[in-house]
């Protein structure tokens, strides 16, 4: 979002601010309920579900943070998301490069393959995918077993975002490099990759957050101490359904990394996309 001046005339009247406040309350309410609920005891939650912590209880959070299972899930989530991101971004930018900078017959057709990939929801392939990964590849209950299919499903959107960005890179740079005797592959590594960093961050964050939040595929493929955080949260909340405060603390901590990543990189993400779209 470039910081253009607002075009809509009329600053907000009081009504606009009231509306905005309502929206903020409705949006953040559930999240805050989770975060604050983690600071209350189950008795507090039972006697006044909508109240504030009184007194503040820290044991729920400390229990989660000292729980080795929680850290195990966090580790799994992190590693799976990292593998997914690296594989998707690397394979994606490699595929997008010739689609953007080479001219050859069947180029648009090849691009359509990636576009069509967008139309295949993971749910359609989930059962055979489960069989493929666990039986044929023997990768059931491993990081790679989840990360590779996730990377594959992240590829279409990655290529589709990266291609216009790569197309917009100035041709002069490429020509100068060619004159200096660089090969096309050298141009890819030393010119195209560094120049498209903002777009790579964008697709990387998308792939990372999608993997971090994924549920269906890990649900089928991972058990026990290979589970990721979403599975951990869902299972914890069924197993400890009586311990509402504990569930809320667990849930709150699990959502923090994705939120921080988004907030920290918000400008880069937006900048990358703006660059990709405007050239």
């Amino acid at each position: 979002m470039t910081d253009k001046q607002t075009k809509a005339f009329g600053a907000g009247g009081p009504l606009v601010y009231v509306l905005a406040l309502v929206v903020v309350a409705l949006t953040l309410g559930p999240v805050l309920y989770g975060a604050l609920g983690g600071f209350r005891s189950n008795e507090q939650l039972a006697s006044d579900p909508a109240g504030l912590p009184d007194p503040w209880v820290f044991t729920n959070y400390s229990t989660v943070l000292t729980n080795s299972e929680f850290w195990r899930y966090a580790l799994n989530s992190t590693v799976v998301a990292l593998i997914t991101t690296v594989v998707a971004v690397l394979a994606g930018v490699m595929a997008a490069y010739p689609l953007a900078r080479y001219q050859f017959r069947g180029r648009e057709g090849l691009f359509m393959v990636f576009v069509l990939g967008l139309l295949f929801p993971a749910a359609v392939a989930i059962i055979p995918l489960f069989i493929l990964v666990t039986r044929d590849l023997q990768l059931g209950n491993t990081w790679w077993g989840v990360a590779l299919p996730q990377a594959a499903f992240a590829l279409p959107i990655t290529v589709v975002i990266l291609r216009p960005f790569l197309m917009a890179l100035p041709r002069e740079l490429e020509e100068a490099a060619l004159i200096d005797g660089a090969s096309r592959v050298g141009i890819f590594w030393r010119l195209a990759l560094p120049l498209s960093m903002p777009a790579l961050v964008t697709v990387g964050v998308l792939a990372f957050v999608t993997s971090w939040n994924a549920y269906l595929l890990p649900l089928l493929l991972l058990q026990d101490d290979m589970r990721t955080l979403p599975l951990g949260v869902a299972d914890y909340s069924t197993e400890h359904s009586a311990d509402t405060a504990g569930v809320l603390a667990f849930t709150t901590i699990a959502m923090i990394p994705a939120l921080i990543l988004f907030l920290a990189l918000q400008r880069r993400i937006v900048g990358g996309l703006t660059g990709a779209v405007k050239g």
């Binding site: 929206v23 295949f120 929801p121 489960f130 269906l216 699990a254 994705a258 405007k278």
Partner: protein, 326 residues
């Protein structure tokens, strides 16, 4: 049009995909020819194609194959049953209801999330204090995992002891006895409310980005002509972000047809199968009951339904963009 995706992670891409316009404008020129170039292309593209072939194409084809067999998940797949699995699935009321639920979510999304999202985007496009912060806040639920949002809402919606029921009781209303998620007639609408909470931020962000692309001069001209704020929005801004709105609707439709996570966490498809979706149906048939043939048939049907809907939408609605807006 090119600006509207500027802020949404998914926006420009799908716009590009769906409408595919800009490509030929910046066609790179040929450099290097012959086998060397071909080799380079193959080298660059093959990792991506290999991954997609193994983990997308092959499983999808397997689902098709599986759908013609009666197979319990072990032993050889040799009991060919033709179209019998499809017959079973289509005659299964749980599945046809699931399709209905998916389309209910599709229709409600358009009818409710579109006006809400548009209203919020217009509101946030005004020159108010803290606008940047507001935009970030509105997007927070979208970043939170569906499972995590589901677990929190599950707690909020607990019958009697949950916050929602408590608040309703305090203001003198009687919440349903079995809770919102436990009452058959209320379960799906309740799930939809939670989905709206989760996904409204995306709509707002996309629409806002679209509004950024509306030139100042148009507002000024409208203002000079004596148009009110609302008239300006209605006659100038909203028509101009039409393409963004249609792209959002496309995303929303596809997402609604694939819905799984939130429902699995909130209701598991219950009570009495009143919130099943095609995805929950096929996962349950496949992993929980071991009816792999049936799951395969349901997968194929899900794909066909999603594909036909996407193509129909493209033909009916999105085609206008290519014709009119450019």
């Amino acid at each position: 049009m090119t600006h509207e995706g500027a802020t949404g992670p998914v926006a420009p891409t799908l716009t590009e995909v769906v409408t595919r316009r800009d490509e030929r404008r910046v066609a790179p020129r040929p450099v290097g020819t012959g086998w060397r170039q071909r080799l380079e292309i193959v080298m660059f593209v093959s990792p991506a194609l290999a991954l997609m072939a193994v983990f997308i194409l092959w499983p999808v084809l397997s689902a098709v194959r599986m759908s013609f067999y009666r197979w319990k998940g072990f032993g050889p797949m040799d009991q060919w049953v033709g179209l019998n699995n499809y017959r079973l699935v289509l005659q299964d009321e749980v599945f046809t209801d699931a399709v209905m639920h998916n389309f209910t979510i599709v229709v409600l999304s358009i009818l409710i999330q579109l006006p809400l999202g548009l209203g919020l985007a217009l509101l946030l496009n005004r020159r108010i204090r803290g606008r940047g912060l507001l935009r970030t806040i509105v997007f927070v639920p979208y970043v939170v995992a569906e499972v995590i949002a589901g677990v929190i809402w599950f707690q909020l919606l607990q019958p009697q002891y949950g916050v929602v029921d408590t608040v309703l009781t305090n203001i003198g209303l009687t919440p349903p006895e079995q809770g919102f998620l436990g009452t058959p007639d209320l379960a799906l609408p309740t799930v939809f409310v939670v989905l709206t909470w989760k996904y409204l931020g995306l709509a707002v962000l996309l629409f806002l980005a679209g509004l950024q692309g509306v030139p100042d001069e148009l507002y000024e001209a409208a203002q000079l002509d004596g148009a009110s704020w609302w008239q300006t929005q209605r006659r100038v801004a909203i028509p101009l972000i039409g393409p963004t709105i249609r792209t959002w609707a496309f995303l929303s439709i596809i997402g609604s047809l694939q819905q799984f996570d939130m429902i699995w966490v909130l209701t598991h498809g219950g009570p009495a199968n009143r919130t099943t979706t095609m995805a929950t149906y096929l996962v349950e048939q496949g992993t929980e009951r071991g009816n792999y043939g049936i799951a395969g048939a349901a997968s194929v049907l899900l794909f066909v339904i999603a594909f036909v809907t996407a193509v129909a939408y493209q033909l009916i609605v999105l085609r206008r963009d290519t014709k009119v807006d450019r």
